[in-house]
């Protein structure tokens, strides 16, 4: 049974809440509105509807982590000295007393040992950064797997990818600031990366470092990039991201009462604001507990950066792990070209590959759009199984990413699993090509098989686990129909449509322009939708139900169609003559 969904407001009672007399708060609001005219903008947005699902909160984890980063970051800037000028350490950490360190390192030690709460803030800042990028990544995966990037949200996808890239760079510049041995080694590697660029490499290196590595300019420059340039860009892009989200309204899962034209959920005020605001405190609180209990980046143990020192297990933070892995497994192919060296072994994995991956990521919505030719707006999400090729593409990219990531930790894997780093490297060289191919194949077939199962459920009902024995002695499992709500959710999706093609040639036999790309497009679309299981037509459903009714009639021994609940106490059967013949 359905209820009237036209009520705009609903509260704990069955009638709408009524406005009360104006109070002091009302007077202040009136003062503001006299000057800003906010009520016009706010009238719609205060009770704006947001659908409720846990997977919609992954982006919020990233958003609130960013706020934590801003707050803890400002705290750190009050003590951090972004200078590479040398100073003799005379602070509280005795094992480094008298050692020559940079001002930056000195201030990082001061924060850690002489400022109460300083070490906590450093660690919260670092944990929040790790969680920020991880959350962006799983948010990206959620958006991709559910098809939420389709029209009209492609631009939001682009903004999101840029946020991911900027977040990664922000993290790299950030953990390099304390000028400790581990992050300094990372900067040295970055110097090597730049030098690998043909023609301009050494110039880029000298310009960035203000001279030969290490110079004395890199830390102050990274500081400006880290606290001013990238946060500014991040804030602007996050604002645009949120604005588009509010304008387009959030997508939602298909279900009873939900259509492409509406949004069903809870109003911004009070429920959604409470859930989002509460989640902010939870993210902040969890980050703080991690900062208190879990040690991260103990710079005092690394010592100040020294180009002649290094530690085993030199890795960048996790989000740079996959290019590090690519660097490790790349064979040493370096080319000499007319008296010049082209270090392809560095250039490919660290300059070309990340750029390529990022570009592919950025273009995914547009590639899918080009192949399918789908020009409609989409506000209802798709289950991953209902887009097998799309899901398989991302799983295959994830496999590539994951194998590279593991390759970046090959020495840690070697000592923890008692393996040989040489063998791990050889394995990974093959795995990064074979793995994604296998993952693509398996994922796609798995999705299709899940679609088949869904169709089975729709047509023949769900398996009850009750075994029936027919009078002839045969066994069968009883199936019962799924609820209308669930059945609707499973069928509330579109059929896959191949893109419409213009004719190949016109009346005079001249091929239409762009017909070759049309043919490629058609081929790709066919491959994309191949083997996909479409939802049943009304006729098929009708026939299946009829068949089921007939089955139930036979099993219950009745002479009229039955609903199948004769033997499980679902309803009374006193008047029925079951199995009377």
């Amino acid at each position: 049974m359905s209820i009237d969904t036209s009520k705009v407001a609903a509260s704990n009672t069955t009638t709408a809440a009524t406005a009360k007399k104006p109070s002091k708060a009302g007077a202040a609001a009136a003062w503001a509105d006299d000057r800003l005219g906010l009520a016009t903008a706010m009238k719609k947005n205060l009770r704006k509807v947001f659908p409720d699902h846990w997977s919609f909160m992954l982006g919020e984890i990233a958003l609130w982590s960013f706020v934590v980063l801003l707050l803890s970051g400002v705290f750190l800037t009050l003590w951090f000295t972004p200078s590479m000028g040398e100073v003799t350490y005379q602070g509280s950490y005795d094992p480094l007393r008298g050692v020559t360190v940079s001002e930056a390192y000195n201030s990082a030690l001061k924060l850690s040992f002489d400022v109460r709460g300083g070490l906590l803030m450093r660690q919260m800042h670092h944990w929040a950064a790790m969680v920020f990028i991880a959350a962006m990544m799983i948010h990206l995966l959620r958006v991709y797997f559910t098809g939420a990037f389709r029209k009209p949200r492609e631009l939001n996808w682009v903004i999101g990818c840029l946020l991911l890239l900027l977040g990664t760079l922000e993290g790299f510049t950030g953990y390099s600031l304390p000028d400790d041995l581990l992050s300094g080694t990372g900067i040295r590697a970055a110097d090597g990366f730049m030098k690998s660029i043909p023609l301009v490499g050494s110039y880029l290196s000298f310009f960035l470092f203000g001279g030969e590595f290490p110079g004395d300019a890199i830390i102050p420059r990274l500081f400006t990039i880290h606290v001013l340039l990238i946060p500014g860009l991040l804030l602007a892009l996050i604002a645009a991201h949120m604005l588009l989200l509010v304008y387009h309204k959030h997508t939602q899962w298909p279900g009873p009462g939900r259509t492409e034209q509406n949004v069903v959920g809870f109003p911004m005020l009070p429920v959604y604001a409470a859930k989002a605001g509460g989640f902010f405190f939870i993210v902040f609180g969890v980050t703080s507990i991690m900062g208190g209990l879990l040690s991260i980046n103990p710079v005092w143990k690394f010592g100040p950066y020294d180009p002649t020192k290094v530690t085993a297990g030199s890795q960048p933070d996790w989000y740079m792990g996959w290019p590090d892995g690519a660097l490790r497994i790349m064979p040493g192919w370096e080319f000499g070209i007319f008296g010049h060296t082209f270090p392809f072994n560095v250039f490919l994995p660290i300059i070309v590959l990340p750029g390529l991956m990022f570009t592919i990521l950025l273009l995914l919505p547009f590639i899918e759009n080009w192949v399918t030719g789908d020009k409609r707006d989409h506000h209802l999400l798709q289950r991953p199984r209902n887009a097998p090729t799309r899901t398989a593409v991302m799983v295959s990219l994830m496999t590539f990413y994951g194998l590279m990531w593991a390759a970046g930790g090959n020495d840690i894997i070697a000592i923890k699993l008692h393996a040989s780093i040489n063998q791990i490297t050889y394995f990974m060289r093959a795995a990064v090509f074979i793995g994604p191919a296998i993952a693509f194949f398996i994922t796609r077939r798995w999705c299709i098989s899940l679609q088949r199962h869904d169709n089975e459920t729709l047509l023949h009902g769900y398996e009850t686990g009750i075994i029936m024995r027919s009078p002839e002695g045969g066994y069968s499992e009883r199936h019962l129909p799924v609820s209308p709500a669930r059945a609707y959710s499973m069928t509330a999706r579109e059929r896959d449509e191949l893109p419409a093609l213009e004719g190949e040639t016109d009346a005079n036999g001249i091929p239409t322009p762009g017909s070759r790309s049309q043919k490629v497009k058609a081929k790709l679309a066919t491959m994309m939708y191949a083997d996909n299981v479409q939802k049943p037509t009304p006729e098929e459903l009708e026939e299946a139900h009829h068949h089921v009714d007939h089955e139930n009639e036979l099993q219950a021994g009745l002479d009229h169609p039955a609903d199948g609940h004769q033997f499980d106490g679902h309803h009374l059967v006193d008047e029925e003559h079951l199995r009377s013949h």
């Binding site: 005795d94 050494s202 859930k275 609180g285 370096e334 060296t341």
Partner: protein, 350 residues
Amino acid sequence: MSDQNSHDDLVPSTFEDEPIANPGLPPHVWRPTDVDPKAEKRAERQVAAFFGLSILCAILFLVSYFVFHVGSDWNTVGGLGASNVALGVFLGGALLFIGIGIIQWARKLMGDHEIVEYRHPARSSEEDREATIAALNAGLEESGIGRRPLVRNTLLGAVGILALPAVVMLRDLGPLPGDKLKHTIWTKGMRVVRDVVGTPILVSDLEIGDLVNALPEALFPTEENGYPEIEGVELQQQKVKAAVILNRMLPDEIVSQQTLNWSVNGIVCYSKICTHVGCPISLNERTTHHLLCPCHQSTFDLTDSGKVIFGPAGHALPQLPLAVDSDGYLIAQSDFTEPVGPSFWERDPS
């Protein structure tokens, strides 16, 4: 409530041939806190208790801040720094319990009727589009930019060329590389000294199997050796290129003629800077004379001119030719014969 959209071609109103009709929103089912006043009161107390716990944690935070010492005499608890643990846990608790309280409030007590809002198509209406295009056209027409290609082209040229001053202003970010990358501070006759302590090395000091991390004596200037003062940035910049390792092996184990020529009694000297991307290396396998870099696992053979035998490095590790001076100390015959460290475009591969 927004009006129904009128752009059916872009927003399908229902799915084509829906086999099952939309059953509409399910009827609302109340929560115990909605229908049972006792449950409601209990939920209220629960939410208030969370906020109370948060206040308690905040107070404990303030107490911990002043009670637990940092500096040279940290309090510890269970082998961990007490200040950090206490401040982190209590701040975390103060924040977390506010969050949990608010969420419980929303879940248990706030109205949870699902409400419906209608979407509008993302695109503007046809009228708005036309009006905008008309306004744009009117503006462009009045500016006359279409009719005045000379004005337009010279403007574009003037604005476009501004990119050049912007880029050129960055020129003084750093000096040109010149040939700085091709030379190090090593010269003929310069002694090899131990890193950190700076003492020169006699051949007899080293046993077979020893590994020494070493630097040129010029980076440890004293009155005795007469080298000029060097410190700060310049010291670091020279260290990056000049750091070396010494390894003593049996002379029979040396494979390549060049390595043999540049060794002294089985003592070989190689650059410590990996030729991949420049990490310092000193993981030496004594038994195989393979030198491993911890960053990306490039492996070099010290018996064979530093040849790359595994990993992503593109060329061999440069070897420093060694000799012995009149007092028996190890010295360099000359600077390295090729650039040290990661490859770059101007490096001659021969």
